[in-house]
Symmetry: C4
Amino acid sequence: MRADPGLLAELVDANRILAGQGVVDAFGHVSVRHNESADHFLLARNMAPGNATTDDILTFGLDGEPIDAEGRSVYLERFIHSEIYRLRPDVVSVVHSHSMSVVPFSVSQSARLRAVCHMGGFLGCDVPNFEIRDVCGAGSDLLIRDGVSGGALARTLGSGAVALMRGHGSTVVGPTLRLAVFRAVYTEVNARVQLQALQLGAVTYLTPEECDAATKGVGSQVDRAWNYWKAQADGPRR
Amino acid sequence: MRADPGLLAELVDANRILAGQGVVDAFGHVSVRHNESADHFLLARNMAPGNATTDDILTFGLDGEPIDAEGRSVYLERFIHSEIYRLRPDVVSVVHSHSMSVVPFSVSQSARLRAVCHMGGFLGCDVPNFEIRDVCGAGSDLLIRDGVSGGALARTLGSGAVALMRGHGSTVVGPTLRLAVFRAVYTEVNARVQLQALQLGAVTYLTPEECDAATKGVGSQVDRAWNYWKAQADGPRR
Amino acid sequence: MRADPGLLAELVDANRILAGQGVVDAFGHVSVRHNESADHFLLARNMAPGNATTDDILTFGLDGEPIDAEGRSVYLERFIHSEIYRLRPDVVSVVHSHSMSVVPFSVSQSARLRAVCHMGGFLGCDVPNFEIRDVCGAGSDLLIRDGVSGGALARTLGSGAVALMRGHGSTVVGPTLRLAVFRAVYTEVNARVQLQALQLGAVTYLTPEECDAATKGVGSQVDRAWNYWKAQADGPRR
Amino acid sequence: MRADPGLLAELVDANRILAGQGVVDAFGHVSVRHNESADHFLLARNMAPGNATTDDILTFGLDGEPIDAEGRSVYLERFIHSEIYRLRPDVVSVVHSHSMSVVPFSVSQSARLRAVCHMGGFLGCDVPNFEIRDVCGAGSDLLIRDGVSGGALARTLGSGAVALMRGHGSTVVGPTLRLAVFRAVYTEVNARVQLQALQLGAVTYLTPEECDAATKGVGSQVDRAWNYWKAQADGPRR
């Protein structure tokens, strides 16, 4: 079982793009399902994603354990990835982050994150919010440290594209690596727009049909964004 | 029919300035009416505007179709441009963007974008908001994919400088390329100021007469801004 | 009458620092009273301040007219500077800007900018807001285009350090060039803090005595900030 | 008594990381207890922290006075550090800053800074706010200029990790230099999230037990953040 070098390179790009766009900082991670085995996925070792290289990518099984770590430390929260891959055969990539404008929605008792602009259509009309207290009680450190809490998060995600995690961040999935990254960026953008719009009063959201249409329509646009963000992550910032 | 090389270079600068000022990112586009034909306009091929070069500029007719694409893909929303050029002989340049502080006004049911500072005088006392549901129903992807929706947007714009597009962004026009770019930047600035001012309570806006005077007064200042923004886009950011 | 080369260099630094700190962009300007004549002041020609060099500095009289422009265009709003120097012999430097967080206070009908943190002590307990309609009627372009409106602004400023200008920006003065720059930066910082604090509910402001003490106490700190901001404007941004 | 060169280098890194992350600008400072004497601490001379080198690090006693300044000027507010080291034997490092999103909580009469996300667990359920008027009256410049006010601040901090300082900023402590820096960054992050969340309505905060667990859980993550922030401070920003 050997990872496609092109996929490895793309996963490194994904790490660097997410850092460049401010979705991840020292924390957060992105994985992709293995090209030769649906029961494995690729994910960096425990490190800031913006610094990852192909040498830092490890292979994990669906139990969340690495098969080639050779002593290198791994992300505590790898079970976010493994449990979602287990429950969602359609998911090819998972992004977990603490991006700044999304966290407020995860702790709000009244506002719910939802699609307010066409780029956020994939969010639909109500993004579920995972409350870890329901699984681990009111004394956890909020981290997904095992398969039990990872499985509960995966069930909260359901068939959707995004789940918030109360007081913590969010997890975004997609049918391709590029689309998962795209969605992670636009989850943050939509949250920022929604935060500001709500300060102006009542808001017109996308209808369910608009969400569906916008989600389909965006497909052909993903590469344009990917290439632009990659150039920004590669080149000198001007 | 040959495009003036100076105009092509200026259109490339416009693309890069709008990216540098954060008005466009991977998405958004800027066009200019052709120097030899009022029935044609110049617009980049389908790409992130910040990366455009003169080789990427295509020529379009007022039906929104390119005449020299030679297989290169084009922006889905080119009909924004074609229909405005058709209805507004005075318009020489069109900018479409999703700039961050403007979108909240496009989805607010109560607040209306309007001139709150002298640099935004061209916005006047009420910026129209295009509701695509009125043309395409409540199940569209919010994009201007044809001449029909483009024409409806152009009619919403009317004789104004800016039209919001609900859940999507805005379109800004001008009698010169530089002035359209200038207005696109200051639409965003005015929106940011207005968002913050509304959080403080009631706001004093510009009167219609102040809007007119500020719009006229700003003419001589456009080159100062253009040259500064161009230097920022060209040079290393310090 | 010859300008001190050290003063010219410091004025260029002031221009670049204000651009680097985001107080000015393509617009805004900073002047200093002439070292050999209290009836003259130094100010860049009409240009984006961040690009100014010593060759761009002109000498103006207290009538607001340049004596050595040699055909170069000058700022429309030079009368802000001339009229303040005329009325305020203690003022050695004037900064005019549209810095982003200050403008909202200039258009708010309820909130008043005032010192909320020790770095903003010089703002005192109520920053005056210049309403140009009182001088030029409700149809002006909001610019200070002559000595009459400049004089009215100077009288609104009174003996203070800062005057807001409704729908436009602010003007900040100081007994030294460095202190005027320092105050312009911290007017923006104080405004940003106050905007956010007001969203949390009632605010504790500095007392008049605290304002006085903080204004005196900050004197020895100005060079620390100046040198840091100058290094940022000079060097590559890391 | 000789400072460990590795500790000196790490203190310089701390200065540069805090500047790079926007916690300090021209103002603010970070100290560490001396490796050979619990009655001494290391702190830069009076300068912008982002420019500090190992040559700029001085040694101070618990009276707040330097023993090796050799005429170099020292921070006015060094008593923040000396008095906390005196009262809190467990504290190894102290960071004082005016970071932007924290100051609004220091002047709010209703909102209290507290842990809203797992990275801010160390904040607990109520961060104390030091009111200097209680010690120095209502006419001070808000600075900690002597041991008396420093001692009062230290008592307000109590056994906690963070104390706000009304109209001024905050002081953050930790059992290691790296953890104090980590906490200073995430105090700002938590404040930004809480500011935005409060604008959406009622907020779910961490429980005391969650705060405790998150504080313990974060220990192993500090080096990941430190190394990432250090690389950002060292390298060219891309």
